[in-house]
Symmetry: C2
Subunit: 338 residues, 2 copies
């Protein structure tokens, strides 16, 4: 059976050649373990944080030769654990592999109800990205009807959901993405406007898209994308921080100049509220209930970019850090559910 291991720690942006797809023996569950067949693998940008030689913050460190860290949806093929039965669907961080023998005490598993929504949504709209989007817009961002919310990495898993939640809340929603095709897709998804941060007049276009200023900015990126938002902030604007993809692989210090003085100036002069999301801060069951209802009612469209087979995972993951045509959650269909 196949699994993907780390071949080299990425130097800056990850490349497909930092990974190897290798054959391993079919695992056999010990007492207290379950044997899982991976159906879906989620390619979250956050995985990048675990691949550094010296992991600073983020999920568990992946060493050379280790199976790569990642969230999956799996089916139980064999169980030596009383809480799980053959045929159950579960999600958990079981890694980039076709089969895994997992002790749920070491790697928490959550049962997934396949009747609610497509299985892949367990690591998307009805999983961590959905909860993150919900927290950004509601718990932390406190977005109100009539406000303007700007979302970076808006075509991503969190961003595409956050924008739709913004529309449900009655806000003006402006997305930022990396090419015109993504911007068009966002408008189709209901965003009021979308701006390509690679266009030469990006800052000016963003300003035009936010004629009343910015009440809330969902931070997924950092760097120059965020710099253009700072002058548009209204007093007491909020900035939930879900990610900072521009700095993944940068460590604690980037090349100069130092941008922290300008950031702190904006924080103080505009009375900004910046809130990060630690592991324990994600919205809970109430948020999942909202999300499930919105998906069922068709108010929240699940957008996914699907690649087929574990072999395709390294290139698809590398592509998430380059110019790409991904819209929504990037998923690997590791196996069909049959």
């Amino acid at each position: 059976v196949k699994q993907v291991i780390l071949r080299s720690h990425p130097n800056g942006v990850p490349r497909a050649t930092d990974f190897s797809v290798v054959e391993a023996a079919m695992p056999s569950p010990a007492d207290g373990q379950v044997l899982l067949k991976t159906l879906w693998l989620s390619l979250d940008p956050m995985i990048r944080l675990s691949l550094d030689e010296n992991v600073i913050t983020g999920p568990t460190k992946v060493r050379i030769g280790d199976v790569v860290f990642g969230a999956t949806v799996s089916r139980v093929e064999a169980s030596r654990h009383p809480d799980f039965a053959v045929g159950d669907y579960v999600d958990g961080r079981t890694g980039w592999r076709e089969y895994a023998a997992i002790d749920p005490k070491a790697v928490p598993l959550r049962k997934v109800d396949a009747s609610v929504a497509p299985l892949s949504t367990a690591v998307g709209a009805l999983g961590m990205p959905g909860q993150t989007a919900h927290a950004c817009m509601i718990g932390v961002g406190r977005v109100a009807a009539g406000e303007t919310v700007v979302i970076s990495a808006a075509a991503g898993a969190v961003g595409s959901l956050a924008g739709q939640i913004g529309k449900i809340l009655g806000a003006r929603v402006v997305g930022i993405a990396g090419n015109d095709a993504k911007c068009a897709a966002l408008v189709k998804l209901g965003f009021d406007a979308a701006v390509n941060y690679k266009s030469p007049d990006y800052a000016e276009k963003l300003k035009v898209a936010c004629p009343n200023g910015v009440d809330c900015y969902i931070e997924n990126v950092g760097g120059t994308v965020t710099e253009a938002v700072l002058p548009l902030f209204k007093y007491r604007a909020r900035m939930p921080v879900c990610g900072f993809i521009a700095y993944y692989g940068v460590g604690r210090e980037g090349p100069g100049p130092d941008k922290l003085p300008g950031f702190m100036r904006a924080v103080m002069s505009k009375g900004l509220e910046i809130r990060g999301f630690g592991g324990t801060m994600v919205a809970g069951p109430a948020a999942l209930k909202d999300l499930a209802e919105w998906v069922k009612a068709g108010k929240l469209k699940v957008t996914e970019t699907i690649v087929e087979g574990l072999d395709a995972a390294p290139a698809a993951f590398a592509a998430t850090f380059a110019d790409n045509d991904h819209i929504g959650k990037v998923m690997v269909r590791v196996a069909k559910d049959a």
Copy 2:
């Protein structure tokens, strides 16, 4: 009568020679104006922000030849305004001068009750610095008994009050200051510990002073002072931003490396809450009531560094940006109240 004008825009740290003390004619109040005799002038570090050639954020720009911006306590000497009578005390941003003719519509004036506390506290413990300290610790910082709060520029006007409020709230209070004499003064004022950020093992000493980590950090400084706090933050810690003296005169960008990536990493991985203070965010009358009661009860000691006469203002202001022995609010006694 004397006034202090700006002679040159400071290049980085302000120097006494950036200012000139000049003679002007005694002003004469027009209809609707009051003639004020300045008793106290407050030397707030924030004034620095108004002195740049290209003011980015902060209070009103001061041009070459303008009277320098600053908060004062004054006595009404003559009044052509129905709300003010000769002998009233007022505070307002009337500038670095012995006498001023002020239109209260242009420069808001607040009456000061001289029976509550010494007049100088109107621009200190019972004015903006007190309200800022109150908001830092209570409204924004939400400091609770048993928590650890770290305060930068702890010997300053806001810091020395914030630390005492922290003790009133039952928190462990750790101050950061720029020399050992200030640290000793802070401990005498009731701080549990104080650390000199110029000592070579500053970061290690700060860690030792915060054995349970940091729940709240009052930001007045920025730069390396703040960098040492980031690894000590507990999950969901708060960081009220009252100032960033290390960046005053720096503009939006400092010399590299770029420290913003490490800051955003801390924000996200620790779920931090960063809140700036815009002009409208300062605590209101309820806070002033708390402060007045604490001062009256002796729970909040008013610490001031007083220099005599307007001639001394330029050097005293420059000294607030250099190594100095200032403790608490730095005040110029422009005239005795007689």
